[in-house]
């Protein structure tokens, strides 16, 4: 997905949107939006009235056919502007989809008919079935979403992530899922097909950004009901105004009953057309913003739920702290040189390919200039980490060097007749209290000292949590560490709570507990063991680098695999709701000014006294009504950028946020039309149009 093609005013998108505005005049399209459908019918009605007025002698209806034409034309503009708003939002989505589609060209798949013998047959990717095994070699495109069951390869996933650096995909573990449409750059993979053609990740993504599958979210439905009710009220107000005016003309003995044209104009001005016209554009733009943030939501509902999240579960590693723990200090026991400890630790870590092991080597090199020796002639025996011994190490030159958790090493040296020195025990406790991880190093029966591994809390993360707290969201850190370590890191990072020694079950329980209390929980995850918790959480963001199981369980996928993205998602969800709410308020507040423009104008002949309500001193009744209608149409276009960008969101308390938005959109909505209608009226009077 290219990030450049979605500029707000792309001329190509603009051109397409203008064309689409006319295509959307199809009544079946219009019927989907009740508010705008009413305007649509009004436009047709006034057009008919205009045609009728052409045939009539001037003066029979009391209004010139030019006036009726003006109203009819601007009502059509109102409809077109609404179509345009929707089309331009869709245009941005389509641009994203187009770049995705280019990677979905039919590819040939090498289906394995015999796994052992590597016998393959070439079939079109569309013929693949669930469970088929395919072989993908360097330079080939992966034909379908699936799980790597053999091989390691680097894969170019730029088609979906926009990230040009290739990623490693390998069987087993949390990096085993591959996406159809991505390309293998080196080596080969055997992939088990996990989705049917047409239902792949890429397909769903395209459907999502194109807006084809966009379902209305719960709040959108509730708002649509409110808008429909308002429209109905105004329909009644306007419809009953005709009999009222007939009666008023009778009793006052002057003027004419209000004309159909003016009634339609009044109705369109009063109906919540501003929000009605922009409603679907706001929804689509929200999804677009999300995909611009490289997050793929499986449903709009999930985005909306993100705005409501009360509790955020964040994995410690990678989210709160930088990747992995790093060695920061060697603490030798009494009588041992720090260098000797470093050397032993270095040796024990040579075969340790974990980030922690590497960081020990790095520290040893930095502090004492130790280098990896050519160990081949020493014939070292590496002891890999095992869950049973909870230690790893090396036996070299008859020295058995081990490193591991304090208890594990203590057990180990005791069996050899050694012991854990008191100063090491103290150091171990101190490190643990400080949030670090102590690794004890031993050589044969003797304990040499402790390596301190520390989590490095990401810069700026504390401020983000403070922001979340202001938004009313509680942050909970999830970690496999012991409670002591967890507490220290939690304090350093500024999270509200933590879950230590977390197992997948404990995570699931925690989410259920919060939900039972009525809270909405969001979490991120990537591993298969995260899947149950992801499925349980209300907003579940799976990392794209994660397993297929995790992606299936989540309702959003972050293509950048960046766990802090949740915060951005919450913002987008809130912005979506706020934009709808603010524009609704604005739309309704606008009506007050329109009444003051149209009512005195409509009854100018029947009740001249009502002229006192004409606060704006508009030039003539006809121009007053026309100005209101023109304002009503233009305000839609004026607000399109806001609908696409969304109302700005700052993390302040709910009351403060409401006060700000009421001031801007409520009070603004009251004042702006008075000014706008007056200006349009002056312009109309200047060019003598009405």
């Amino acid at each position: 997905m290219t990030k450049t093609s979605t500029h707000l005013l792309d001329t190509k998108i603009l051109g397409q949107a203008v064309a689409a505005s006319f295509q959307k005049l199809d009544p079946r399209v219009q019927l989907r939006n009740p508010v705008m459908f009413a305007v649509y019918l009004g436009s047709i009605l006034t057009t008919i009235l205009w045609v009728q007025s052409l045939g009539e002698a001037a003066g029979t209806t009391g209004e010139s056919s030019g006036f009726v034409l003006g109203i009819a034309a601007w009502l059509w503009f109102t409809v077109l502007f609404a179509n345009f708003a929707e089309a331009i939002a869709e245009g941005h989505g389509k641009a994203q989809a187009a770049s995705l589609k280019s990677s979905r060209m039919t590819v040939a798949a090498q289906r394995l008919s015999n796994l052992k013998g590597r016998v393959t047959e070439e079939v079109p990717a569309t013929d693949l079935k669930l469970g088929d095994l395919v072989l993908v070699k360097a330079g080939e495109t992966i034909p379908a979403d699936g799980e790597v069951i053999e091989g390691v390869a680097s894969v170019d996933e730029s088609a979906i992530t926009g990230e040009s650096a290739p990623v490693v995909r390998e069987s087993g573990g949390d990096r085993s899922s591959v996406t159809g449409g991505t390309r293998v750059i080196s080596d080969w993979l055997i992939v088990e097909v996990k989705t049917l053609p047409g239902q792949s990740f890429l397909d769903r993504m395209i459907a999502m950004v194109e807006g084809a599958k966009r379902q209305k979210t719960p709040n959108e439905i509730a708002l649509a009901i409110l808008l429909a009710a308002l429209t109905l009220i105004f329909l009644l107000v306007v419809a009953t105004l005709l009999p009222y005016s007939v009666f008023s003309v009778q009793v006052s003995g002057q003027g004419r009953p209000i004309s159909l044209t003016v009634l339609v104009a009044l109705f369109v001005c009063l109906a919540p057309t501003t929000i009605g016209a922009l409603l679907s554009a706001i929804g689509i733009a929200g999804m677009n913003r999300l995909s611009r943030a490289n997050v793929l939501a499986m449903s709009g509902r999930a985005v909306e739920a993100a705005g409501d999240v009360d509790v955020l579960l964040l994995d410690k590693t990678g989210t709160i702290t930088l990747g992995n723990r790093q060695a920061t200090r060697f603490i030798p026991t009494a009588g041992i040189e720090e260098r000797a400890l470093a050397e032993a630790a270095h040796l024990a870590s040579l075969a340790d390919e974990t980030a922690e092991g590497r960081s020990i080597a790095v520290l040893a090199k930095k502090q004492f200039g130790l280098r990896g020796r050519d160990l081949e002639q020493d014939q070292p025996t590496f002891v890999p980490f095992s869950a049973r011994t909870r230690m790893s190490g090396v036996t070299i030159d008859g020295r058995a060097i081990r490193k591991g958790a304090a208890e594990a090493v203590e057990t180990h040296v005791r069996t050899l007749g050694g012991f854990l020195p008191e100063d090491v025990r103290t150091a171990v406790q101190q490190i643990a209290r400080g949030g670090g991880t102590p690794l004890v190093v031993s050589e044969d029966a003797k304990v040499l000292g402790v390596i301190e591994l520390k989590d490095i809390v990401k810069g700026g993360i504390k401020e983000r949590f403070a922001e979340l707290r202001q938004m009313g969201i509680k942050t909970v850190m999830i970690t496999g560490d012991n409670p002591l370590t967890a507490a220290a890191i939690a304090a350093e990072a500024g999270v509200d709570d933590f879950l230590a020694e977390a197992t997948p079950e404990a995570k699931l329980m925690l989410i259920r507990d919060y939900q039972k209390g009525g809270r909405l929980v969001a979490m991120t995850g990537d591993g298969t063991n995260d899947a149950p918790a992801l499925a349980q959480a209300d907003v579940a963001v799976a990392m794209n680098s994660g397993t297929q199981a995790a992606k299936e369980a989540g309702n959003m996928v972050d293509l950048d695999s960046n766990p802090t993205k949740l915060i951005e998602i919450v913002n987008i969800g809130k912005q979506l709701l706020m934009t709808r709410g603010s524009l609704t308020t604005f739309s309704i507040a606008n009506d007050v000014a329109k009444y003051f423009a149209i009512l005195p104008a409509a009854f100018a002949a029947t009740y001249p006294a009502l002229k006192a309500l004409d606060l704006m001193h508009l030039s003539s009744p006809a121009s007053a009504i026309l100005s209101a209608v023109i304002f009503n149409a233009l305000i839609i276009i004026a607000l399109v950028p806001l609908a696409l960008k969304g109302v700005s969101y700052r993390p302040v308390g709910a009351a403060q946020l409401l006060r700000n938005n009421l001031l801007i959109y409520g009070l603004g909505g009251l004042v702006v039309p008075f000014v706008g209608i007056k200006v349009i009226d002056m312009l109309l009077a200047a060019v003598n149009l009405a």
């Binding site: 708002l223 009901i225 107000v237 009953t240 009999p243 009222y244 009793v251 409501d308 009506d591 009351a655």
Partner: protein, 582 residues
């Protein structure tokens, strides 16, 4: 405003405010199933009632069952009231020997009293026998009020309960509301009113010789006047307390035997607003956060007080036509000044205006002055208060549940504006609640607009519009505003006791009552089934001045947008057409 006016208004509102907390607390006790003091006396009777009805006291109802019970009680009431009027001629306690009431008027009155509207197309003392007044009308004053309060309590339970499908038992709520709230209060008030000279008697009308003969309707000189009396105090007490408003006499509380003294006037006025105001506190008590109740009371007051001041000022200024003729309209120690047409001298400008605003704010509808004779602005305010949906105090129960509907809409709007799925008192407001809220707001509104529209273009409707110009339209609009919102007061001058108006107004009363009640109960059921979400920092507090302000804005804007065009053709143009006072 004169100092006198400020003092009188402050006294009345101060007294009202003082009663809110104790009474609100007591009502919360009653509906929570505990009222130890009263249960000591009436408990056995209450239990006997349930046993006699074959009702286990703890039988909980779903919202549908609750709604069914409400409708069945109302239907039963309607049939009883209709039948009693039609056969009163053959029944006892009819000292004046009044004949059966006409079918259309009986229909209208039966609907009117079962919907707590108490619109009266008839003249009380000249139409209804004592038996009908007591057994049909007074009973309905209790029952329809208790039903309104029951529905409110059911809605409150919707907020307080969580993940259940029951909202209480309607019959229990009606019985307890009547026994422990309405009966004790009206007993006290009735006795107090009798002490002021309100009659309570079964005697036939008194014949008194006139000091000066007068010309009767038939053109003959009349030397005697027949003065009707009856069981008035007992009916008046509940007519005010239950926001019913249907007077014993045609002149309602302007009649000297229904409201003889300034003190009786003050008591009745307090009684009009007493329960609707106190229910706010009941709400706060029951939802476990008193601030929520005070916020709603504040919202009501914020609308009430400015409108009250507007009426007092408009009436005190009087009619510019008279002013221009040199008539002294200034208030002095010996006269009220201002526009005294249609007002009683013993109440003056201030107490008449206060009553007019109170009776239309609360959906009471009793009058102590003739609203038709108010200045255009003075008449606009009572009309608009009704059009707001009778949510500024409103009817007992119905006023507060109406305001809660607006609160739900407000919460929805403000929830969207702060970027969070709206929640009120821990309940998420979803599409279903919005649908029902929209229906409840739309129904009365539609009935006012449509009813008035039909009336002004149909010959049957225009035939009995006796006033020329926009005022004739105002009268029709007032009638439908009053009926649709179950108020019951009237701009006189419209001949409403015709088959057309009896039928049309009855229809609007029914819609205005039940198309609000049913959605409210549906919301109650839906809320009760939801989980309660604990409040967090992201939750918008609903007890703050900000929320109160927004709630008021929603009520006022909806009311203004819906009725501004109609009002412009009635009272507004009347006002703008007044000559400038020189």
């Amino acid at each position: 405003m004169t100092t006198n006016a400020v003092l009188q208004l402050s006294l009345a509102l101060g007294l009202l405010l003082a009663c809110v907390k104790p009474l609100g607390w007591h009502m919360a006790q009653v509906y929570s199933g505990q009222a130890p003091f009263f249960e000591r006396f009436f408990g056995p009777f209450e239990r006997w009632l349930y046993r006699a009805a074959g009702l286990g006291k703890c039988l909980e109802m779903s919202w549908r069952q609750y709604a069914f019970a409400v409708i069945s009680l109302s239907l039963l009431s309607f049939v009883a009231v209709y039948a009693l009027q039609r056969v009163q001629g053959w029944l006892p306690l009819n000292p004046a020997g009044l004949p059966a009431v006409s079918p259309d008027s009986s229909f209208n009155t039966a609907v009117s009293f079962t919907t707590n509207t108490n619109w009266q197309g008839y003249g009380g003392e000249a139409t209804m026998s004592d038996l009908t007044q007591m057994l049909a009308l007074t009973v309905q004053n209790f029952v329809s009020a208790a039903a309104g309060m029951a529905v409110l309590v059911a809605l409150i339970r919707g907020f307080t309960r969580s993940t259940t499908n029951t909202i209480g038992n309607f019959w229990v709520d009606v019985v307890r509301g009547t026994l422990y709230i309405l009966l004790p209060l009206s007993t006290v008030l009735a006795v107090a009113l009798v002490s002021q000279g309100v009659v309570q008697s079964f005697s036939a009308p008194h014949q008194v010789t006139l000091l000066e003969p007068a010309v009767g309707v038939d053109g003959n000189l009349e030397n005697t006047q027949s003065i009707a009396v009856g069981p008035v105090a007992s009916q008046v007490a509940i007519k005010q307390l239950g926001t019913n408003g249907g007077g014993y006499f045609n002149a309602n509380s302007a009649h000297p035997l229904e409201n003889p003294t300034p003190l009786s006037n003050l008591l009745q006025l307090l009684a009009i607003l007493l329960i609707p105001a106190a229910l706010c506190h009941t709400f706060g008590e029951m939802v476990g956060d008193r601030r929520q109740g005070w916020a709603l009371l504040a919202a009501m007051s914020v609308v009430f007080v400015p409108l009250l001041v507007l009426v007092v000022v408009a009436e005190q200024q009087g009619n510019p036509v008279l002013q221009n003729l040199g008539v002294g309209l200034a208030a002095s120690d010996v006269q009220s000044g201002g526009n005294m047409e249609g007002k009683e001298t013993r109440f003056g400008i201030v107490n008449s205006s206060l009553w007019a605003v109170a009776t239309t704010a609360a959906s009471n509808g009793s009058v102590n002055s003739m609203h038709d004779s108010y200045t255009p602005l003075g008449g606009l305010v009572p009309m608009w208060l009704m059009q707001l949906g009778e949510v500024i105090f409103g009817g007992v129960g119905s006023g507060l549940y109406g305001l809660l509907i607006f609160a739900i809409v407000t919460v929805f709007l403000s929830g969207l504006m702060v970027g969070r799925t709206p929640e009120y008192l821990g309940k998420k407001i979803g599409a279903f609640e919005m649908k029902m809220a929209a229906l409840a707001i739309l129904a009365p509104c539609a009935m006012v607009l449509l009813g008035a529209a039909i009336a002004v273009v149909s010959p049957a409707g225009t035939a009995s519009i006796f006033n020329p110009g926009p005022h004739g339209f105002s009268e029709v609009l007032y009638a439908f505003s009053s009926a649709s919102n179950n108020n019951g007061s009237a701009f006189a001058g419209l001949g409403a006791n015709t088959p057309f108006y009896n039928g049309m107004l009855a229809l609007t009363m029914l819609v205005g009552r039940f198309w609000v009640m049913l959605p409210v109960l549906a919301i109650a059921g839906s809320l009760a089934a939801k989980k309660t979400v604990p409040a967090g920092a992201g939750t918008l507090p609903t007890h703050t001045p900000l929320f109160v302000g927004l709630l008021v804005a929603v009520v006022v804007v909806v009311g203004a947008l819906s009725f501004l065009p109609a009002l412009a053709l009635g009272p507004i143009v009347e006002h703008l057409s007044l000559p400038k006072s020189s």
